[in-house]
Symmetry: C2
Subunit: 224 residues, 2 copies
């Protein structure tokens, strides 16, 4: 008799969902694919171009990035936009709801920080570092400390403002700031999280404030 295995009926043709009403399962259908959350991470501080995303996501291939962006767009997490002239380039930006995924990134990252398998020597993007400042900031360590720092990481500038026990991190130039850090993302991470001496990064402005600033982001103890 002939083999008919190729004609087997499949209950869910074409889709590979979890078939589970749990919100968690649905979340994984939205952003559970490989690279999806890292793409969202790169969009958290504002619109990005395709090539920038590709550069900062080490090892992603163009077709996978294009597919992820298309999926995230059709799910309502990402939107294509055109930057106003004279730039007029196409960019990808997170929608409102997409930006609401920020706590997800924070909780995941914070949880993983306790992992004994974590390798901090790998490359890291400027978005990752600045987002980690937002995530790992500890209000109790800050007390009533106040400072505004400017961070020149490669060709992107961020602004981090500590005030009233909160931190606000965003892209752009501050109107004024107490100090300016100029470094590669990995160097900054080394100083804040790796115990590297602060002169591993260039600091202009109020060095004392900067020294205090970098102590506000404690790493949790490793689990093993």
């Amino acid at each position: 008799m002939q083999l008919e295995k190729t004609t087997k009926p499949r209950q869910k043709e074409g889709k590979r969902g979890y078939g589970d009403a749990c919100g968690l399962a649905h979340a994984l259908e939205l952003i559970g694919e490989r690279w999806a959350l890292l793409v969202m991470r790169e969009l958290m501080f504002g619109p990005r171009r395709f090539s920038g995303l590709k550069r900062d996501l080490p090892g992603i291939s163009a077709n996978v990035l294009a597919q992820r962006l298309a999926e995230l767009e059709e799910r309502g997490l990402v939107r294509r936009a055109k930057l106003p002239p004279p730039a007029s380039v196409q960019v990808y930006e997170a929608t409102e709801w997409g930006l609401e995924a920020a706590p997800v990134l924070g909780v995941l990252g914070k949880w993983a920080a306790r992992s004994p398998l974590h390798d901090p020597s790998l490359p890291i993007s400027h978005v990752s570092v600045m987002l980690s400042l937002q995530t790992m900031f500890e209000a109790e360590l800050a007390g009533d400390f106040e400072a505004t720092g400017r961070f020149r990481l490669g060709d992107v500038t961020y602004l981090a403002e500590v005030r009233e026990g909160r931190i606000d991190v965003r892209r752009g130039e501050p109107g004024q700031c107490d100090f300016t850090v100029t470094a590669e993302p990995a160097q900054l991470a080394g100083v804040v999280y790796g115990g590297a001496p602060i002169d591993a990064i260039r600091i202009d402005g109020d060095l004392a404030l900067a020294k205090r600033f970098v102590t506000l982001f404690p790493l949790p103890s490793k689990v093993a």
Copy 2:
């Protein structure tokens, strides 16, 4: 000339990591594979057997479940244990660190609850429903309301205790309780989240407390 494509050097042979020092990327390497977080979900209220996991994860195949459990075990999130005699069966349980992933599940689920694509008609496990109560509980709606409910979902019994603006959900029999709900997980979800009438589920004990109880878990508004 001969094709030598199969001998291409691959920079990360055998592993498919993200090559990214970001904590988020590492989190995804730990629990980013398909099914991994859903397996963790099923372990959040205590040890489970292989067959129970397979039953409550709709559509997972035995080999994938076995592989996920093995990976989670070697990463320190899951541990094999043997239930004490007379049961003496092997179970899987979350480690301390694995249990610390609970907030991750909560944040993800809560975020996804705003999705317009969510289909609540799919099957749902008892763990999912009880975990969602923990997640979606709104302290402000509770005020100083106090109640202890027993939930018989299939062959598993849970206990949910609302007190001092907090909720505690766990497996087991309560010493005493105000009401007992007997239902399938989907029916309970329908009453709590779907606006189904409360008589869709069986309630013994204090009906008034139970009616109030099921109002403490508001769904966020859909995003589109």
